[in-house]
C-alpha cells in the first residue's frame, strides 16, 4: 500500500463541493456522488450542450457581488475525446447566463467591467484534457489520481464522448479490452474520490427494434461492453422531437420525462 500524505488523505476523504441542486429537472435534489450518469442520443440532440450547461453551473459560484447565481463553485475535469470542446462557446454561455440574472441594464452595466475578469476566474476551475485513442484515455484516467489528490475542489468528471473510439477499437482488434479497463478505472476513481461522472455516448449504431423506426420502450442500442452498461447507473436518453426544435429526455431509473430546447442562452427546460 502506498503511503498517503495528510493533504492527500484530506483530498480523498474531505468534502468536495456539493452538486445538490444541479439541474432539478433531471436530477431532482441533485446528482449523487460516486455515480455515473450517461447522456445518450443522436447527433444534434444537445448532449454536449447539456454538458456545457453542467460545466457552467459547476464552475460558477453561488453568489457574486450580491448577485445570486446558484452555481456550485466546484472544479471540473473535462475530457474531450471528440475534439469538439469550444472554450469560447463556454465563455459566451457564462456571459449570457450572467447577463440574464441582472434586474436591469444599469445594474448590469455597472458590473460589465468586472464581468470579464470574473468569467476568467471561473474558467480557472476547469481542467481540460484531450484524448486521441482509447489507450490514451485509459492512461490519462489512471494519471487523474494525481490531479484529484492535489485538488479537493474537483467534484465532477466529464467525458465527451465515451463512444469516440468505438469503431477504431473494434476494427483494430483491441475490441473491449481497453474499454473494460477504462470502466474499471472510472469505477475506482468514483469510489475513491467521491465524485460525479457525466459522460455522453453517441447513437452511432443503429438500434434494431421490432417496431421499425418508432421510438419504443427500448430506446437505445447497448453496443458497448457489458462492464460499461453495468457501470452506468442512470442513463438519460435524448430524443429529437420531429415537429419542434425541442428534445425529449427520458431516464427510466430516475423517472424523468421532460423536454428542453437549446436557446440563445443555453439549455431551457419546459
Amino acid at each position: 500500500m502506498t503511503s498517503e500524505t495528510g493533504a492527500q488523505l484530506l483530498a480523498r476523504l474531505g468534502s468536495r463541493p456539493s452538486m445538490n441542486g444541479l439541474e432539478p429537472s433531471l436530477f431532482g435534489a441533485g446528482p449523487e456522488t460516486k455515480t455515473a450518469y450517461e447522456l445518450y442520443g443522436e447527433e444534434g440532440t444537445g448532449k454536449s450542450e447539456m454538458l456545457m450547461n453542467f460545466v457552467s453551473s459547476c464552475i460558477l459560484p453561488d453568489v457574486w457581488n450580491d448577485l445570486k447565481i446558484g452555481g456550485h463553485n466546484a472544479c471540473v475535469v473535462f475530457i474531450d475525446t471528440d475534439y469538439k470542446f469550444s472554450i469560447l462557446h463556454l465563455a459566451l454561455l457564462l456571459e449570457k447566463r450572467l447577463r440574464g440574472l441582472f434586474k436591469d441594464d444599469s445594474e448590469m452595466n455597472s458590473c460589465m467591467e468586472d464581468m470579464e475578469s470574473f468569467i476568467k476566474s471561473c474558467l480557472k476551475r476547469l481542467q481540460l484534457l484531450r484524448c486521441n485513442s482509447s489507450s490514451n484515455l485509459l492512461i490519462t484516467l489512471i494519471s487523474l489520481e494525481n490531479i484529484l489528490n492535489s485538488n479537493s475542489d474537483i467534484s465532477v468528471l466529464m467525458i465527451d464522448s465515451i463512444s469516440s473510439f468505438y469503431w477504431l477499437d473494434k476494427c483494430s482488434g483491441v475490441d473491449n479490452t481497453n474499454m473494460n479497463s477504462i470502466t474499471a478505472t472510472l469505477n475506482s476513481l468514483l469510489d475513491t474520490y467521491h465524485i460525479v461522472l457525466f459522460v455522453t455516448r453517441a447513437a452511432i449504431v443503429k438500434h434494431k427494434s421490432k417496431d421499425g423506426d418508432r421510438h419504443t420502450e427500448a430506446l437505445t442500442a447497448d453496443y458497448m461492453c457489458h462492464a460499461w452498461h453495468n457501470f452506468i447507473k442512470h442513463q438519460y436518453v435524448f430524443i429529437p422531437l420531429a415537429d419542434s426544435r425541442e428534445v425529449k429526455v427520458v431516464c427510466q431509473t430516475q423517472n424523468v420525462n421532460t423536454r428542453f430546447s437549446v436557446s440563445d442562452s443555453g439549455i431551457k427546460f419546459k
Binding site: 485513442s133 489507450s135 477504431l168 476494427c171 483494430s172 482488434g173 483491441v174
Partner: protein, 357 residues
C-alpha cells in the same frame, strides 16, 4: 512524432491488424528494428507477409516519400494552360466546355437512348487523332463498349468526314507540314488507332479498367479512354446496393487516377432514369444514383426538346452552366445552323428541365 502514426491507418488486412495489435504492435515506431522473422514469431503472421507489412510501413517513410514533389496551384495552372482539348466538331459544345473535352478530367455524357451519346464518343475517338499540324493532338483512343452499340459503319462515316475536313484545310492553306501528315492520316489509320474492348458484364468491365494502366504504359499515345456506357451492367441484376456503390465509387477513383496519371481524357456515357418524387411530377435524371453523380468531374446531359438536340453542361469545375443545341449529321456531331434553330425555337429559351408527362 513521425512514427506515432497508428498501424491501423495503413492498408493492412484486417486479420493482420488484429494480430499486430494483439501482440502490442500499434504504431510505426513499434515496427522499427524488428526483423520479419521476429514479427512473424510474435504475431503468428507468416514470414512473407510480415516482410510485406514491414516494407509497407517503414519503406514508405524512406527516400521514396520524401522525394514526392509538392505541387502548387501555379504549377497546375501552367499544366492546364499547356494541355489541349479534344474538340467535338461542334463549336458551341466546345466553347461551352471551355474548348472541348479536357485532358486530365473525367467527362460524362448522359442521355436517353438515341440522343447521340455513342456518336459523341466515336466523334471524340476520331478527333483525338487529328494530327498536331492541324492543332490536334495526334493521339490514340481506347474504346470500351459495354452495350454493343459500337457500329463500325458509323465510325467509318465520321472518320471519313474528319479526314476529308483536314484534307480540305491542308489544300486551302498549302501548309507543307499539313500536306506531309495527310499521307498518314487516313480513314484506315484512324480505325487502326482505336483500341476496342467489348465487355459483356460488370466483372469484365472492372477487370478491363483494372488492366488499363498497364495497357496505357504500352500505348503512351492514347489520349482518350471511352466507356460506353458505364451504367449498362450496373443498372440491373444488382441486389446488393452497397456492393454496387462500393464497386462504382472505386471504379470512379480508377478513372480519375487514370486521367491524372496518364494525362488523358476519360469520357463516360450514362443512361437516364425516371425519378418519382412525392408531390412532384416525375423527371429524368442520370442513372446510378447520387453517389455516382460525384464520379465525373464534368457532366453533360443530352436531351431532346421538340425536334432539336440539346447539350446541357450540368456540372463543371471551371465553366458556367449552359445549354447549347447540336445536331448529328452523316459526318458526326455538328453545330446547328442558326436559321434552322430560330424556326424551331421561335426565340424562346429552352426549359432546362426535361419532364416526362
Amino acid at each position: 512524432m513521425q512514427n506515432s502514426r497508428e498501424l491501423n491507418s495503413f492498408p493492412i488486412a484486417p486479420i493482420h491488424k488484429t494480430k499486430l495489435s494483439g501482440a502490442g504492435f500499434l504504431i510505426v515506431e513499434d515496427l522499427k528494428d524488428i526483423k520479419p522473422s521476429e514479427l512473424s514469431k510474435e504475431t503468428g503472421i507468416d514470414l512473407e507477409e510480415s516482410l510485406e507489412i514491414i516494407t509497407l510501413v517503414l519503406g514508405g517513410d524512406g527516400d521514396q516519400k520524401a522525394s514526392k514533389p509538392t505541387v502548387s496551384a501555379l504549377d497546375i495552372l501552367h499544366l492546364e494552360n499547356a494541355s489541349p482539348y479534344i474538340i467535338t466538331f461542334s463549336e458551341q459544345v466546345d466553347s461551352m466546355l471551355g474548348g472541348g473535352v479536357p485532358l486530365r478530367k473525367v467527362t460524362e455524357f448522359c442521355g436517353s437512348p438515341g440522343i447521340g451519346k455513342t456518336q459523341m464518343c466515336m466523334q471524340l475517338a476520331v478527333d483525338v487523332q487529328i494530327p498536331e499540324a492541324f492543332g490536334g493532338m495526334g493521339g490514340e483512343a481506347v474504346y470500351i463498349d459495354t452495350e454493343g452499340s459500337f457500329i463500325i459503319e458509323r465510325l467509318v462515316d465520321i472518320a471519313k468526314a474528319t479526314v476529308q475536313h483536314c484534307h480540305n484545310i491542308a489544300s486551302e492553306n498549302q501548309e507543307p507540314d499539313m500536306l506531309k501528315v495527310m499521307g498518314q492520316f487516313t480513314m484506315e489509320s484512324v480505325l487502326s488507332r482505336i483500341h476496342y474492348f467489348r465487355c459483356h458484364d460488370y466483372v469484365e468491365l472492372l477487370s478491363n479498367v483494372h488492366l488499363l494502366p498497364k495497357f496505357l504504359k504500352e500505348h503512351p499515345t492514347v489520349k482518350l479512354v471511352v466507356v460506353d456506357s458505364v451504367a449498362f451492367h450496373f443498372r440491373h441484376d444488382f441486389d446488393d446496393m452497397s456492393l454496387r456503390t462500393r464497386l462504382l465509387t472505386s471504379m470512379a477513383q480508377s478513372f480519375i487516377q487514370l486521367a491524372t496519371d496518364s494525362s488523358l481524357a476519360v469520357v463516360l456515357t450514362n443512361q437516364m432514369t425516371t425519378k418519382v418524387q412525392q408531390g412532384e411530377s416525375s423527371r429524368l435524371i442520370p442513372a446510378l444514383g447520387e453517389s455516382w453523380g460525384h464520379a465525373s468531374t464534368i457532366r453533360v446531359i443530352l436531351y431532346w426538346e421538340g425536334k432539336q438536340r440539346w447539350a446541357w453542361l450540368y456540372k463543371s469545375p471551371s465553366q458556367r452552366e449552359a445549354v447549347v443545341p447540336y445536331q448529328i449529321t452523316t459526318g458526326g456531331i455538328r453545330d446547328v445552323v442558326s436559321s434552322k434553330l430560330e424556326s424551331d425555337e421561335e426565340g424562346e429559351a429552352p426549359a432546362k428541365r426535361q419532364r416526362t408527362s
